[in-house]
């Protein structure tokens, strides 16, 4: 028997300026189904769902709910139609309680005054029925990420959602939390709810979904039930060609240790971090986001100083050195979020191309424009930054080109040690391959490289050695080939302790 159709989106078109974000996209979701919307960054998944949730309006196309045509022009209307969305960046108010966050917008009142008891009963019923544990009186800012997500799901259910959209729900979760989430989603499904998950992760898709729809460059690449799908098939649909899963990595003679941390502690965020990086070596830090990576990066670059321990660069203690002094000595840094710490978006390209190295372009207190122009043009040329000219604003660059500019800026200025965080986040496939190649070429030039990434494949492909960070501590370290992917996953989740596997140091 064919299941009832809960949602059908028909030939949806949406443009932002000259960019066609969605081109005639169809999506059909059956009632009581877990449906994954799979695609790379920028494929249009989130845009499609924002249209369903009333945040954006489609330029063309129709939406049918339960086979009835509907027009959804605001989140309010979406909620009324039984659609809720859990965003990647949680939509919670940190300094209100969990309870207040859940009822916000659908408050029970008596003569205008909030009726706490009624709301409380209603919420308690929901959370009990589905086994979603939350502490109602805690402030949201005080609860862990997994609980925040449960709050979001209860929020959706409290609003009587029949269709729940989750945008990259696992991005910030540990594998344990992920499997817990999947259990909850399956309970919801048994309860008759329809669930749409936006994701780019193949394995999770196969683990949880009934059916998958793949988007690429704003176009529908077809749908497939998970019992017929394999990672290879999905990957092919996602990127549109056979993905080269292995990067060709030449052999490089390891040099001496040139960067080292000794017993680095930062309050309760970092615990006794000991890392050694040789010249010509890439050390990858694997871990679920939020386990101290940001703090580690900021400590290494000098944005915050460790509570104890030391950082050694070329046998010199640089723990007390400022960011500027570290950069001067040849530390290169590619930050986690290029728009946050990397680039100044409404400034010109040349102004961004020398950022961090402005000292080298100073002549008697003045900026040396001839040298700046030469350097900027070289970076643009050597690192394939597609841009009109060095006077263009860097906000005009696409994600991939902005990242190339950032990487080019650091690589060009001849660092000896590289600290690279999430080098390929939000970057198209072509640029990823290119950036990986550049990083490897830095390795063969004998640079010492620390690579932090949430992308396990990236870590495994590039790293000579891998260290796993969990709750601020390195739980295990070993050669890249020492671990299977599953083992790494378990370490990242804190599930395996170092003593359970002997690794040659």
């Amino acid at each position: 028997m064919e299941a009832l159709e809960a949602l059908r989106m028909n030939k949806i078109v949406k443009s932002f300026g000259s960019l066609k974000a969605l081109d005639q996209v169809d999506l059909t979701v059956a009632k009581g189904e877990i449906h994954c919307l799979l695609g790379e960054n920028g494929a249009g998944k989130t845009t499609l769902m924002k249209i369903l949730y009333g945040i954006h309006q489609q330029d063309e196309g129709e939406i049918y709910l339960n086979a009835k045509k509907v027009k959804i022009s605001s989140p309010k209307e979406a909620i009324t139609q039984g659609i809720s969305m859990v965003f990647q960046h949680f939509m919670l108010i940190p300094n209100l309680s969990v309870m207040e966050n859940i009822i916000l917008g659908q408050e029970e009142t008596k003569m205008g005054i909030l009726a706490d008891k009624e709301s409380r009963n209603k919420v308690a019923n929901l959370s009990e029925k589905l086994g979603l544990k939350v502490r109602l009186d805690m402030l949201v800012e005080d609860i862990p990420v997994g609980e925040k997500q449960r709050v979001e799901i209860i929020k959706a259910l409290y609003r009587g959602a029949e269709i729940i959209i989750l945008d990259e729900p696992t991005a910030v979760l540990t594998p344990q939390e992920v499997s817990e989430l999947f259990k909850v989603l399956k309970t919801l499904k048994e309860d008759g709810k329809t669930i749409i998950i936006i994701t780019h992760k193949l394995k999770e898709t196969l683990a949880v979904a009934d059916k998958v729809t793949v988007l690429r460059n704003g176009k529908n690449q077809g749908s497939i039930t998970t019992d017929k799908a394999t990672p290879e098939i999905l990957a092919q649909m996602m990127v549109g060609r056979n993905v080269m899963l292995e990067v060709v990595k030449g052999k490089v003679e390891k040099g001496p240790v040139i960067f080292e941390t000794k017993g680095l502690n930062l309050k309760d965020k970092l615990k006794n971090i000991n890392l050694k990086i040789h010249a010509g070596e890439i050390v990858g830090i694997a871990g679920v986001e939020g386990n101290g990576q940001t703090e580690l990066l900021e400590t290494l670059i000098g944005l915050c100083s460790p509570t104890s321990g030391s950082i050694i660069f070329d046998q010199k203690d640089i723990t007390k050195d400022s960011v500027e002094e570290r950069l001067d000595q040849g530390l290169g840094f590619i930050p986690e979020d290029r728009n946050d710490r990397g680039l100044v978006n409404n400034f010109k390209l040349w102004q961004n191309a020398i950022l961090g190295y402005q000292k080298r372009y100073e002549k008697k207190g003045l900026l040396d424009f001839a040298a700046i122009t030469k350097a900027s043009e070289t970076i643009v040329k050597n690192y394939q930054v597609k841009v009109l000219g060095i006077d263009s604003k860097s906000s005009s660059l696409s994600g991939g080109n902005a990242q190339k500019l950032l990487v080019g800026r650091v690589f060009y200025h001849n660092p000896r040690v590289l600290i690279i965080a999430h080098p390929t986040r939000g970057v198209d496939v072509g640029a990823i391959e290119y950036l990986h190649k550049e990083i490897l070429s830095m390795r063969s030039q004998g640079k010492a490289i620390l690579l932090v990434s949430a992308d396990l494949d990236e870590i495994r492909q590039l790293s000579d050695r891998i260290a796993v960070i969990y709750e601020g501590a390195i739980t295990i370290e070993g050669d890249g080939g020492d671990f299977t992917e599953d083992e790494l996953g378990l370490y990242m989740a804190g599930g395996l302790r170092p003593e359970s596997k002997v690794v040659k140091a």
Binding site: L303, L327, D328, N346, L366
Partner: protein, 347 residues
């Protein structure tokens, strides 16, 4: 080409502001055309009017430059008024109380004193911002009131000249910024202002220091990652901003009044905010918008004298201009409205 477009936009804004303010005048029962005629005549109709406009523009060059400099570093210095007072008081005291000194040395010391005290006053806000992340807008507002009251105390008690007026004694002739022509109040302070325009432009766009200041203003987190000491740059920017405002106060005392007079500023510091915004926070823009504001103020003063429309009328024009610069989308909407009217009229 870009400059012409910018200037055209600025003039259009001014025209729109004049129209809106004119409507308010009209509703209040005045004739806007007569009022504007009186204003324009008063501001540029003769040499005295032009001189008056320049006199009024002089302090605005300083305070506008002060606010613009801080804005370039991403800090909003609403405290130019207080810094102006402190600078004026310091210059007045140095000018009046120092023992006899050679002319230019005395003048230089008075100017430096004005700059220093204006700068230090602003540095308090910088210190609190850097140390306690206290919002500089609120801090500088508070410092305005405190500074003005403090100077009022000094002019009423500590340094009071004999007589009924709350003012300090007249400065010695060796500390005077010379008058440019007899019969007007225009002093060489305006040249100091022009020199500072060039200097600030040079610092902001041609030096590493200026580059770093502007990077901090645009993205402080990226600046910190690039090894720029953000706290230090913010402190420096506010201090320099304060010195510029302080110099403005010193210029008024040494060039115009010859002494510190309690309540001497009709809000030059606050006008500086408008001047900076209208000038797009660029030194050249500040120069032009300060001149424009000077014209308006002078015109307003003549208006006040010759008609029964009070000088405060200019504030309405200024308010509308500020809003249109600060809310570009409003300007666009109004421009669209003007076009609609034009097409309707054509039909």
């Amino acid at each position: 080409m870009k400059i012409i477009k910018k200037a055209a936009n600025l003039l259009l804004r001014l025209a729109l502001a004049l129209i809106i303010a004119g409507i308010i005048l009209f509703v209040s029962g005045y004739s806007p055309l007569k009022a504007y005629k009186a204003m324009i005549w008063g501001a540029i109709g003769n040499w005295n009017g032009i001189a008056l406009s320049l006199v009024q523009a002089t302090p605005l060059i300083f305070t506008g430059l002060a606010v613009a400099f801080a804005n370039n570093c991403g800090v909003f210095n609403i405290g130019a008024e207080g810094q102006l007072y402190l600078g004026a008081m310091a210059a007045g005291v140095i000018g009046a109380y120092l023992p006899p000194l050679p002319h230019y040395l005395h003048l230089l010391l008075a100017l430096l004193g004005g700059a220093l005290f204006g700068g230090l006053w602003a540095a308090i806000a910088a210190w609190l911002k850097v140390k306690a992340n206290a919002n500089e807008v609120i801090m500088t507002i508070m410092l305005n009131s405190i500074g003005i009251l403090f100077c009022s105390y000094l002019a009423n008690y500590t340094f009071k000249a004999s007589g009924p007026v709350a003012q300090t004694p007249e400065i010695k002739s060796t500390a005077v910024l010379s008058r440019l022509s007899t019969g007007t109040q225009l002093s060489s302070a305006i040249f100091l202002g022009l020199a500072l325009i060039v200097l600030v432009w040079f610092v902001l766009y041609r030096t590493k220091f200026g580059y770093e200041i502007r990077i901090v203003g645009a993205n402080p987190r990226a600046a910190a990652t690039a090894g720029i000491n953000v706290a230090q740059k913010i402190t420096a920017a506010l201090f320099i901003s304060g010195t510029l405002a302080g110099l403005g106060g010193a210029g008024q005392v040494l060039g115009l009044h010859g002494r510190f007079i309690d309540g001497f500023s009709p809000g030059y510091g606050f006008d500086g905010i408008a001047v900076a915004i209208l000038g797009g926070n660029s030194p050249i823009g500040v120069l032009f918008s300060a001149l424009l504001f000077g014209l308006m103020r002078a015109g307003g003063m003549v208006l006040d004298r010759t008609t029964n429309i009070p000088v405060d009328f200019v504030l309405i024009i200024q308010a509308v201009i500020i809003v249109m610069v600060a809310a570009p989308e409003l300007f666009k909407a109004l421009k669209g409205g003007v076009k609609d009217v034009r097409t309707v009229v054509k039909q």
